[in-house]
Symmetry: C2
């Protein structure tokens, strides 16, 4: 049997666009005499459709689009993800389904059994879990058809009561198909490969795994669809971060014939993976919103420098504009470094000194603030004057403002709400400061793009004379480690101090994270590259007492 | 058997505070020779604890607090909501449980079967559903103990596969207890009473229903705990929007002896309910965050006027400060109306003209914008200058900025991001404009508090000469109806136009709602008073194609 895997970039809600894309792949597969073509989870509507699923007109369009595929299935089996309707009158109204279409007919609909509802996933909000399993038979071959999470309840992490493959394997399928929408994080690759290997070994079958690629708001899908043999060896991986289409022949002994093994891994370390993911994240945020041009404030610091480079990679230098917004507290080198970067990247820029509007606010507020010392108020005022200027360019010319805050800042609230926290999209808000520095070095690996001075100088917000981040925060090598243990690893104060960190610093950092939930609630959507990003995957209450932590 | 219902206001995360409150009620009940005291769902930690549930130290503290209650249970049964640990090694790590404590011992732990995961609820994110039911026996009496959603799977809306009371009723309980955390919406009361009646009739038992009161960020809990007899008649309702403690005697024939029937309904229409709910919402947002003082921009319009009155009711006039921020486009009557309100409410205010900083921005942007006409950019600039001034007061003096946007504006994006959309809490963001007007009339029912002129003048943002809301939006009586049908009733264009609305207007309104998801993503938390508020209960994608609607 010849099988095609279609790894595609779908647009959430754009059912007609997705359908046309799917039809093109089916035709391509027909021309290659493929027996069965496999698309990803909820391909027809894009993943995650979220509350669009609650709208009847959305579901109707999805079902009609699936119907429209029947006419292309005369000689080829099609496996495609789409919602289906629960007609039992009990439970949630929808299933998350895999349709098996062949000979101009929907032959079978397989429903997802295990519905991820944690972190960024909320599938039980919409779907009823399948209560029974069923095999599909295509051209006399038994195939176990599963959907994403259905194969993940293995190893130590048994968060569901059962495994659909326990039942399905009794029917001796020649192989397993898993259609997925599995978002990228920099450590997801290893976990995913382990899961696939474990399933192949446990059930002694090959596995064809099809993931989508592309970004939908904060979630980035990396593709990397996988073919593994019955020993659990990965014999092929599709491309990372781009569409791909490949065919495979599997014989009746479940042997996969492949010309040469291909792991398709262009990006082989955390920093290169994150960089590539973020470029795709920006590209799809703009492209899928029918937007073209980005603007950002360029401070001379490393965060905005890295963001600018990523934006240029994603959108082209002609579509990125930088605004330099120096104040009385900005150092000369900051402006010079920012200018140098714009010139290297061939990016259009303007320099607008913020002193005049800042002083104007100081004047009108003087009667009220007269006897109060310069404090965080005036620091925030500068950040907000900058945001106002950037948003005015955005409104006047249709640029989208990119937010340049890193994860360390976002975590501890070291940023001004309605100031430097502004933006339509946060590019590096899931990247800790130390990793932003590594990204800058990675960007510079062949030649100096980001000025060396930007990379090596001590981080500063430059909102008062001689300010450094380390005046109010621990050094980033300490801070980032504590944040990682608290946010990603969910460790408590005792566990972190037991690993050798100073208890007072740990308490201070965790306290800063906890008291800034209200700020993050109003933050721009953050491109997710870690397994625990700020945003929809982390739902901490705003009004709550966090003293139990200390 | 003498039963006490303890309707209390818990603080999410503040386990020690909650425990002390609970102990006080137990002692009060002991003194009244109560046999069984009942607290609400997850009382020990407050509802909703959200991702605090994922932290071991949080769970440990909850479990220790439950243990601490044992010593108070020698002569009195205690029913209390708290998380418990799933020790089976399969499924989610926690249950949402009701503990039955008596004779210094945890006698039984009953787990919740039906886990709401829709709208603002996400319980399947944390909890494993109970797979079996069990009765409790207190002083030789069989009692069916259920948790909130466990009794809701009746009537037409069968979103779960089964009902725990089907099994429990086979064991012939004398009565049913339901411990709940059921948030307020203005139409929730009828629905809740129907559900309780239906259960009593169906299973032929009395029902004691205990709800929490108090607000936790956007969710407001109204209390209104209920006692219904076996015929489904509501024989007592506890107070609305405040703590309450009552005792009841039920005899062996399941007859509830009550001195006089008491429906405890101080607030008997939608507008009075919403008003009272929002006051509690503000009060608890501040109180539970250890904040005292609010600030807001007072425009002379109805939205900020109503918000100011609610804030004064919640916090006291000494804790509310108003800033009047007129521009060249502000009418005299706006300033006069705002001043009159401050004087009536005895609220401290300042008047700060925004022309100077606004012109300062116009000056520095002139080289870039020179040939472009005055447009929405300059309108937004004014709103952002105002926000900057308000936030400067907030930062300098520790006020929390109240957002004054109404639901109609928030829906269609008629507001400036980082401008009038700023604030720590959105007070009336779930109240349509027409209802805001009704709230103003309700506030004025005994005497003119909000100037009549504020109520009757045509709504205007006053961001350019002679501007009216109706220049760019349908009249509010049309707009609000279309919005309600789309947002609350989830109707599509055809369904709405079939009800007599102009198709082009319907399409325009729905399009405006859909293209403004990115703005709402960065909005302040909105106090929820309807059954579909913007915020965590409505998860529409930002990057998506919405054309399937049209």
């Amino acid at each position: 049997m010849k099988i095609a895997l279609a790894q595609q970039n779908f647009h959430v809600g754009n059912i007609e666009f997705n359908k046309q894309k799917i039809i093109q792949s089916i035709i391509k597969a027909q021309n290659a005499e493929v027996d069965l073509i496999v698309f990803s989870e909820l391909a027809i509507c894009g993943y995650p459709p979220k509350d669009l699923l609650l709208h009847d007109s959305f579901i109707t369009k999805c079902l009609l689009a699936v119907e429209d595929l029947k006419e292309y299935s005369k000689n080829i089996g099609i496996i495609i993800g789409a919602p289906s309707v629960n007609k039992t009158g009990k439970g949630k109204k929808l299933y998350n389904s895999a349709y098996y279409i062949y000979e101009n007919k929907i032959q079978k609909i397989i429903n997802k059994s295990l519905l991820p509802t944690y972190d960024v996933f909320d599938e039980y909000r919409y779907f009823e879990p399948a209560k029974e399993t069923d095999i599909i038979v295509h051209k006399n071959t038994n195939i176990a058809l599963t959907i994403c999470e259905d194969i993940w309840n293995v190893d130590k992490n048994l968060i569901y009561q059962y495994n659909p493959l326990d039942d399905l394997s009794l029917k001796q399928p020649l192989f397993v198909i898993n259609i997925a929408a599995s978002p990228f994080s920099y450590n997801q690759r290893d976990e995913r490969e382990n899961i696939i290997r474990t399933n192949c070994e446990k059930y002694n079958t090959p596995l064809f795994y099809v993931n989508q690629i592309g970004a939908n708001t904060e979630l980035i899908f990396d593709g990397e669809s996988i073919v593994a043999n019955k020993e659990g060896k990965i014999v092929c991986k599709l491309n990372s971060f781009e569409e791909d289409f490949r065919t495979f022949i599997i014989d009746n002994n479940a042997t996969i014939n492949i010309e040469k093994e291909d792991k398709g891994e262009q990006f082989n370390n955390k920093i290169s993976l994150i960089t590539e993911a973020l470029v795709l994240g920006i590209k799809d945020y703009f492209g899928k919103s029918h937007l073209k041009r980005a603007i950002l404030g360029l401070s001379g610091g490393i965060d905005s420098a890295v963001t600018l480079v990523l934006a240029v990679k994603a959108l082209g230098n002609e579509n990125v504009k930088a605004i330099l917004l120096p104040s009385a507290f900005s150092s000369d080198h900051s402006v010079n470094d920012a200018v140098a970067l714009c010139e290297t990247m061939k990016v259009d820029y303007e320099t607008i000194n913020i002193e005049q509007p800042f002083q104007s606010f100081m004047n009108i507020l003087d009667p009220y603030f007269a006897n109060k010392p310069f404090d965080i108020t005036e620091e925030n005022m500068q950040a907000r004057v900058r945001a106002l200027i950037l948003m005015s360019f955005s409104n006047k010319f249709g640029y989208i403002l990119l937010n340049t805050s890193n994860k360390s800042e976002v975590a501890v609230g070291y940023g001004t709400l309605y100031g430097d926290m502004c933006g339509g999209l946060s590019v590096i808000g899931d990247v800790y400061k130390q990793d932003v520095c590594k990204m800058a070095e990675y960007i510079n690996k062949d030649k100096e793009i980001i000025p060396i001075n930007t990379i090596i100088k001590p981080p500063s917000a430059e909102l008062r004379p001689d300010q450094k981040d380390s005046d109010s925060l621990p050094e980033y090598d300490i801070l980032d480690k504590i944040l990682f243990k608290y946010i990603e690893e969910n460790k408590n104060i005792k566990q972190i101090t037991d690993e050798g960190f100073d208890e007072n610093i740990v308490k201070k950092v965790i306290r800063l994270v906890n008291i800034n939930e209200h700020k993050r609630h109003q933050a721009a959507p953050i491109l997710r590259v870690s397994h625990k990003a700020f945003g929809s995957g982390r739902c901490m209450p705003i009004v709550a007492d966090y003293n139990f932590f200390y």
